[in-house]
Symmetry: C2
Subunit: 379 residues, 2 copies
């Protein structure tokens, strides 16, 4: 499924075999990545960015790909993540479909796509693959590890398993463990795909594709990524200019056509099986499982703090959006508490963005200012 | 679809023809209702309850139906709505399928179920049908009109169109107009049903039923009716005792089996076409359209206040839950502002319930205490 990879994508071959957190193994796997800026002589100026669920590694434009990236206003010369100073790397998560090995990739042992034979995927694997990439690029220690949303989960896993890997950390709209509201949302997204007759237990093709399930899943995602406050101002009760009166119960409000637009741009541009794997990986994630002598109660903030106290970043910036219903503010407070328990100098901001979970993607003014100010202090 | 009507259901024939708000007409239509307590000699002690989207008129148990009702802890002798004092009526909304005429009912002109030939349904029609019922029962003025969720919308419509109909009003978890977050949720619920191949533009039967769409729609509903805060404490990350390991990506967490249980209890116990009609009626609802000389801007709180200033209840109790993401607190504040503009003595409470929009259904302690105290003061 390399057609999903943007033009500036580069590839890194992971150590083979690559052992997975839940026991599987990948052969000849790779991750896709892009870079901006120059690595300095002592390889001390690297920043690694771990993305949310669906973006590619194309976080910003470059000479090789002038298309704006998903964090274009944040990354570049003189911007919050200043590519004149930093060597910036963004990786497409292992298990995704934007150039990295995932369920849509060819299994070298069979010559056919993995589909559901892809091994169990964990957030921890995403972290390990990104770690291997940076070793391969000659970077043994980052100046800063930046994680957003699902990438913020992967960043925490990485920092617990490799405590000296980064001197600082920015955690944006993240979670140290999946909690039931977001599990319910992702479970329902998976169900919409699985119950689409065209999914066929993962054996779909372009002509016979679970379009309906993917559209429903994406729309549900978008509903939980934004906030009612933002939508009140943005859409209100405004009607669409044209309504399909031949189709019963078709869309009438602009907010509905907005969701349709998101579905149009997603359903055939993300692999359904990869989407299932990535969502379940998030559900499974609980950094508390990495605590030494974890408390046996599964729902326990103490384990989260105990696990995160194993990290060794000197400084951390933890950001959440007050309108985020998917990873609400108490989840970022928990991350901040855990990192503080490690002895890190932690700054926590409940950012007053209106845009919900997606605030890190779209409230560039607030998030950019906080990230820029933080990085200016990193040595 | 009278099989959905509980045993104590009684029926009231609406005036025929019954004109609908958006221009259609119903012939020989009826509404289902139940009553508790005794109407006094001057018919001054009646309370009418308008329900949320899915309940029947069986709000409480009675000699005719000892099964607990949907508001059992609130209604009964000595309870918050004290049936020793009040004559209590609960009506199944026009357009629903629990005994009232709706899309699942037989059209007397054809002898076949209406399905999609049912006329456009509005929240206003629900209010008018309930009004006609009370006239039929010999009640020209209520002591109190109680509306919950969708029924709170219908109550506002009724009070604007019949300002002298009630001496007081209780509005629980209501909204004066649909806003885009809830429109998006309901639109997605409808889409899940419409895209189910078994829906067949409303021509399903029991053997060929849009079960998948109804299950997805109900689960999405439940996700938005509760709150992440409640679910953190209730489900945490607890796993199910038994997992279906033969089905890829099947449920693993208790929160997922909870959603399955809700879907089991709903999918075949509510008519899919009725569900489509009721949801769209909510999307269309904006009490601001009833303002005299409404402001032309469609998204305008001023119109809501102007419309509600036409009501004439002496006292009103407006309740919202601070964790409600579907009809969030600003929507109840708007209702309170509008009722206050009419000159009513308005009490507003942002109730600190954990259970989200469903708090009025399940936080009996808080909601019951507030409702009981309010009704004690009603003459």
């Amino acid at each position: 499924m390399t057609e999903f990879a943007p033009p500036a994508t580069r590839y890194f071959a992971l150590p083979s075999p690559f052992p997975m957190h839940r026991g599987g193994v990948l052969q000849q796997a790779r991750v896709a990545y892009e870079t901006w800026g120059q690595l300095n002589a002592d390889a001390s100026n690297a920043i690694l960015i771990l993305t949310g669920l669906s973006p590619s590694a194309h976080a910003a434009s470059s000479a090789d790909d002038p298309q704006p990236g998903w964090w274009e206003p944040i990354i570049g010369p003189g911007k919050a993540i200043d590519t004149d100073r930093w060597f910036v790397v963004c990786v497409n998560h292992l298990g995704s479909c934007k150039g990295s090995t995932g369920a849509a990739s060819i299994d070298p042992e069979t010559g056919a796509a993995y589909r559901l034979t892809f091994p169990d995927l964990s957030v921890e694997d995403m972290g390990e693959a990104a770690y291997a990439l940076m070793q391969g690029l000659g970077v043994s220690q980052l100046a800063c590890l930046v994680g957003c949303s699902m990438g913020a989960m992967a960043a925490l896993a990485l920092l617990v398993q490799h405590p000296d890997f980064s001197r600082s950390h920015i955690n944006a709209c993240g979670a140290a463990r999946a909690l039931p509201f977001s599990i319910a949302v992702r479970s329902l997204q998976r169900e919409a795909i699985r119950l689409d007759p065209h999914w066929q237990e993962g054996q779909y093709d372009d002509a016979n594709y679970p379009d309906t399930g993917m559209r429903l899943a994406r729309k549900l995602g978008v509903i939980t990524y934004r906030s009612s406050l933002e939508w009140n101002g943005r859409f209100g009760r405004v009607r669409m200019d044209e309504v399909d009166t031949d189709t019963p119960f078709s869309a009438e409000f602009v907010v509905e056509s907005y969701l349709d637009g998101h579905a149009d741009r997603f359903a055939h541009f993300f692999d359904p099986n990869c989407y299932l794997y990535l969502g379940r990986a998030m559900d499974w994630f609980d950094i508390g499982e990495h605590a030494i002598d974890p408390h046996p109660q599964v729902h326990c903030e103490a384990n989260v703090v105990a696990a995160l106290s194993r990290t060794r970043v000197g400084k951390a910036l933890v950001l959440g959006a007050i309108t985020d219903i998917l990873f609400p503010i108490p989840q970022q407070e928990e991350i901040a508490a855990g990192l503080a328990a490690s002895g890190a100098d932690v700054r926590f901001h409940a950012v007053p963005s209106e845009q919900g979970h997606d605030a890190f993607l779209v409230d560039h003014e607030r998030f950019g200012a906080l990230i820029g100010a933080f990085l200016k202090e990193i040595v």
